[in-house]
C-alpha cells in the first residue's frame, strides 16, 4: 500500500446481541469494560463509606445493616469481621475491577487501535472473550457476599495462613474465600487474553508511518502495561492455584504446621511457607501498581501537551522512563515485605532498587512540568484532572520514599501512613487519570461534549475532597494509628485521634456525594450534550481525524498514513498551532 487508499468500509453487525453484547468491535468492548468499571467503582466506594461510617460510629446500631447482614451485623452493629470483609472486597474490587480494568482494558481497547491506525484489535474474538471472562470474574467475586459466612476477610493480598486455613479462621474464610480465589484466577485468564491482544496489536497493526517513536505516549503505556500484566498475572494465577489447593485439596504449600487458630491447632497441614505466598503475590502485586498508574501517566502526558499547546517535553525520555518503570517494577516486590522478616541485606537491595524507581518517576514529573512551562494552558475539565493527577502522583510518590526505607517502613508499615500513601498514588491518582480520559475522549466516544460547569464543580470538590480524606492519614500513621482496625474506642492513645477520623469520614461522605455530579454529567451529556466537532481539543492523534463516534472499522475503509509525531503543537511556521499526525509531510518536513 503506497497511499491512503479507499477500501470497502466494513459495517457493524445488525443484531442487538452481536452489536452490543457479544460484540467483536474493540470500541464496544472498551465501553463494556468502562461500564463494568463504573459499576465496580461505585460498589467499591459504597463499601468504603460503610467502613468509614463504622470506624467513627462503631457502636451505633443501623437498622438496615441488620437487615443486610442478619448475622454479621445482628442488631445493626457491624462485627469486626464484617468490617474486614468490607475492607477485603473494597480493595479487591477497586484494584482488579477498576484500576486494572478501566485505564487499560476500557480506554486502551477503545483508543489503542484508532491511535495506531488499525481497524480493530489483532484478535477480536479473544478480545470479546476477555471481556466476558472479566465479567464472569466480577460475578463470582460479588457472589462471595451472598454465600454462607459472607465475603472473605483476608484483605486484597489474601495472606495465608488466614486465607489458607479455611473456615476456622473466621466467617467468610469458607466458601467466600474460595470464590475470591476462583474469581481472581478467572480474572488472571482474562488479563492474559487482553495482554496478548494489546501486545500483538501494537507490534503488528500500526498503520503506515506509525513508527514506534511516533506513537502517542498513551500507546506506549498501554503496551508496557500489557507486558506487566502478562508477566504479573501469570504468576498470580500460579500462586492462586496453589493457595486454592491448600484450601480444598489438603496440600501444604503455604500452611505451616502447629498453627493455633481460634483455639484450635491446625493439624492437617505442615511444612508450608506463608512467606512463599507473599513473594509470589508481590511479584505480581508491585507491577500491579504500575498496571494501575501507567495508563494514567500516558493520558496525563497526552493531555498536558494538548491543553498547553506545546510538544511533550522530552518524548524519548518519557518513553524510556515508561520502559524503565516497567522493568524496575519487577525488581522491587520485596519492599512490601520488610515487616515479614527478611535478611537485612535483601531489604537493602530492595530498598535501593525502590529508590531507583524514583529516577524515571522524577523524569516524568519533570517533563510534565517542562511541558506546562510557558504553555498557553487551557483549563478545561479534562486538563484539570490531568493536573490533579500530577499533583496526586507527586504527593503519593513522596510518601513512597519514606516507605521504601526499611528502617522507616518497620514503623509505618501497619499504620494509616501506608493507607494514605497507596490511596494517593495508586487509588485516586489513577482515578483522576480515568476522569481526565473520560472528559477528553467523551466527545469521540459519544459524539457530544460533557458539561464543563458540572465538570469543574465535580473536579474541585473531588480534588479538595481526596486530599481531605487521605492527607490526614499520613498524620495518623506517624501518630501510630494501626490500619485494618475496625474501631479505635478501646485503645487510649487512639481515642485522641478519633476526631481526625471523624473529619476524614465526613470528607469521604461529601466527596462520594460529589461523584453523583459526575454520573449526572456523564449520562446527561450522552443524550443531551452539545454535539461535538470532529476534533474539539485541536489535538493531533489519529482518533481526532475520524467522526465521533468512529465508524465500525474506525477509518471507514481508508488506511491512514502518518507523517508526524504525536505532539506537534505550536510548530514555528505552521499554519495552525497543531499538526495532525496524518497531515501531509510537506506541512513540516521533520517528524
Amino acid at each position: 500500500m503506497s497511499s491512503p487508499s479507499a477500501h470497502t468500509a466494513q459495517h457493524a453487525p445488525h443484531g442487538f446481541i452481536r452489536k452490543y453484547i457479544f460484540s467483536l468491535d474493540h470500541k464496544v468492548i472498551g465501553l463494556q469494560y468502562y461500564f463494568l468499571g463504573l459499576f465496580s467503582v461505585f460498589l467499591g466506594m459504597s463499601l468504603s463509606l460503610l467502613m468509614r461510617y463504622h470506624m467513627v460510629n462503631p457502636n451505633v446500631a443501623v437498622s438496615w445493616f441488620g437487615k443486610l447482614w442478619p448475622t454479621a451485623a445482628a442488631g445493626g452493629v457491624m462485627t469486626p469481621e464484617l468490617y474486614l470483609s468490607l475492607m477485603t472486597m473494597h480493595g479487591t474490587i477497586m484494584v482488579f475491577f477498576v484500576l486494572t480494568t478501566v485505564p487499560q482494558s476500557g480506554f486502551g481497547n477503545y483508543f489503542l487501535p484508532i491511535q495506531i491506525g488499525a481497524e480493530d484489535m489483532a484478535f477480536p474474538v479473544l478480545n470479546m472473550m476477555s471481556f466476558w471472562t472479566t465479567f464472569l470474574a466480577l460475578i463470582v467475586m460479588v457472589a462471595a457476599f451472598f454465600v454462607q459466612g459472607g465475603a472473605p476477610l483476608s484483605g486484597w493480598t489474601a495472606y495465608p495462613p488466614l486465607s489458607g486455613a479455611g473456615r476456622i479462621t473466621g466467617p467468610g474464610e469458607g466458601m467466600g474465600q474460595n470464590l475470591w480465589l476462583v474469581s481472581i484466577a478467572i480474572f488472571c485468564g482474562a488479563s492474559l487474553m487482553g495482554a496478548i491482544n494489546f501486545i500483538a496489536t501494537t507490534v503488528d497493526l500500526r498503520c503506515q508511518g506509525m513508527r514506534l517513536m511516533r506513537m502517542p505516549l498513551t500507546c506506549w503505556t498501554w503496551l508496557v502495561t500489557a507486558i506487566l500484566g502478562l508477566l504479573g498475572f501469570a504468576v498470580l494465577l500460579a500462586a492462586g492455584v496453589l493457595l486454592l489447593l491448600d484450601r480444598v485439596a489438603g496440600t501444604s504449600f503455604f500452611l505451616p504446621a502447629g498453627l493455633m487458630i481460634n483455639d484450635q491447632i491446625l493439624v492437617s497441614h505442615k511444612g508450608g511457607s506463608p512467606l512463599l505466598w507473599q513473594h509470589l503475590f508481590w511479584f505480581f502485586g508491585h507491577p500491579e501498581v504500575y498496571i494501575a498508574i501507567l495508563p494514567g501517566m500516558g493520558i496525563t502526558s497526552q493531555l498536558l501537551a494538548t491543553f498547553s499547546r506545546k510538544p511533550i517535553f522530552g518524548y524519548k525520555a518519557m518513553v524510556y522512563a515508561i520502559l524503565s518503570i516497567g522493568f524496575l517494577g519487577f525488581l522491587v516486590w520485596g519492599h512490601h515485605m520488610f515487616m515479614s522478616g527478611m535478611n537485612p541485606y535483601s531489604a537493602m537491595a530492595f530498598s535501593v532498587l525502590t529508590m531507583a524507581i524514583g529516577v524515571p518517576s522524577a523524569i516524568k514529573t519533570f517533563n510534565w512540568i517542562g511541558t506546562l512551562w510557558g504553555g498557553k494552558i487551557h483549563f478545561d475539565t479534562a486538563m484539570l484532572f490531568a493536573l490533579g493527577f500530577v499533583s496526586l502522583f507527586v504527593t503519593g510518590g513522596v510518601s513512597g520514599i519514606f516507605l521504601g526505607q526499611p528502617a522507616l517502613d518497620l514503623y509505618f508499615h501497619d499504620t494509616y501512613f501506608v493507607v494514605g500513601h497507596f490511596h494517593m498514588i495508586m487509588g485516586v491518582a489513577a482515578i483522576f487519570g480515568m476522569f481526565a480520559a473520560t472528559f477528553y475522549w467523551f466527545p469521540k466516544m459519544f459524539g457530544r461534549m460533557m458539561n464543563e460547569t458540572l465538570g469543574k464543580i465535580h473536579f474541585y470538590l473531588t480534588f479538595i475532597g481526596v486530599y481531605a480524606i487521605f492527607t490526614p492519614m499520613h498524620y495518623l500513621g506517624i501518630a501510630g494509628n494501626p490500619r485494618r482496625y475496625s474501631a479505635f474506642t478501646d485503645v487510649e492513645y487512639l481515642g485522641k485521634l478519633i476526631p481526625v477520623h471523624q473529619f476524614m469520614s465526613w470528607a469521604a461522605y461529601v466527596t462520594a456525594t460529589a461523584q453523583i455530579i459526575f454520573l449526572v454529567n456523564l449520562f446527561w451529556s450522552m443524550r443531551k450534550g452539545k454535539p461535538a466537532p470532529i476534533n474539539p481539543w485541536h489535538a493531533t492523534s489519529l482518533e481526532w481525524t475520524v467522526p465521533s463516534p468512529p465508524p465500525h472499522d474506525n477509518f471507514a475503509g481508508v488506511h491512514p498514513v502518518v507523517h508526524h509525531g504525536p505532539y506537534e503543537y505550536s510548530v514555528p511556521g505552521a499554519v495552525a498551532d497543531f499538526i495532525m499526525q496524518t497531515d501531509p509531510a510537506s506541512v513540516r518536513s521533520e517528524g
Binding site: 500500500m1 501444604s252 512463599l276 509531510a585
Partner: protein, 217 residues
C-alpha cells in the same frame, strides 16, 4: 477552547496528502490490518506472547517448588511411575512427526502431510491418556496430591501441563479436520505453523518438567 476560527482542523487538512515515502522502519511500514501479512505476523506475536505467559506460570511454579523444597524438612522424594518415560517418547515422536508433516506440505505432498499430522495428533492424545495412567498408578500406590509436597507439585505441574496440552490437541485436531476436508488453503498455513510451534513448546516444557521431577522431585 479559545482557538481562532481560521485554525480549524478542516482548513489544514486540504489538499489530500501525497503518496508517502516508503518507510523501512520497524513496523509501521504499511500492511496495517489490511492484508494477510499483518494477520500472520500478529498471530505469531500473539503466540510468542502466550508462550511468555505460560513460561511465567511454570517459572512461578518452579520457584515455589525450589523454595518449598529448600525451606522445609518434610520433603520426601516420591517414586515416579515408569510410564512417564514412555509418555515422553510418545510426545517427542509426535513433535517429530509434526515437523515431518510440515516438510511434506512444503514439498506439496498433501497426503503425507495428512498422514503425519494425523499420527502426531493421535500420539498427542495418547500422551494425555498415558498421563492419566500415570496418575492412576500413583493413586493406586497411595500417592495423592496431599501426601507430600513432592507429590503435590507433581500433580500440579503435570495437570498444568496437561491443561496446556488439551489446548494443543484441540488445535491439532482442528488443523487435521481442515486438512482431511481438503480445506487447507494458504490462510491455514498460519494455523499450522502456530500449532506446531506451540506443540514444540509443550514438548520442551515436558522435558524440562521431567528433569525437574527426576533431579529434584
Amino acid at each position: 477552547m479559545g482557538m481562532p476560527a481560521s485554525l480549524t482542523h478542516d482548513t489544514i487538512h486540504r489538499p489530500p496528502p501525497p503518496p508517502p515515502p516508503i518507510d523501512h522502519g520497524w513496523g509501521g511500514g504499511g500492511g496495517g490490518s489490511d492484508g494477510r501479512g499483518a494477520d500472520r505476523r500478529a498471530s505469531f506475536t500473539g503466540l510468542f506472547v502466550l508462550l511468555a505467559a505460560s513460561t511465567m506460570v511454570f517459572a512461578a511454579f518452579t520457584s515455589a517448588f525450589v523454595v518449598r523444597r529448600g525451606l522445609s524438612d518434610d520433603w520426601a522424594s516420591m517414586s515416579k511411575p515408569p510410564i512417564l518415560f514412555v509418555n515422553t517418547v510418545v510426545l517427542l515422536v509426535s513433535s517429530f512427526l509434526l515437523d515431518l508433516s510440515r516438510r511434506a506440505l512444503k514439498a506439496g505432498d498433501r497426503s503425507k502431510f495428512n498422514l503425519w499430522w494425523t499420527a502426531a495428533t493421535g500420539l498427542g492424545i495418547l500422551f494425555l491418556l498415558g498421563q492419566a495412567v500415570a496418575w492412576r498408578q500413583l493413586s493406586a500406590a497411595g500417592v495423592y496430591m496431599a501426601t507430600n509436597p513432592s507429590s503435590s507439585f507433581f500433580y500440579v505441574l503435570t495437570a498444568a501441563h496437561a491443561f496446556h496440552l488439551l489446548g494443543g490437541v484441540s488445535a491439532l485436531v482442528y488443523v487435521d479436520v481442515q486438512a482431511l476436508r481438503l480445506r487447507l488453503g494458504p490462510a491455514k498455513r498460519t494455523a499450522i505453523d502456530v500449532t506446531a510451534i506451540f506443540w514444540h513448546f509443550l514438548d520442551g516444557l515436558w522435558v524440562y518438567l521431567m528433569v525437574l521431577f527426576y533431579v529434584w522431585g
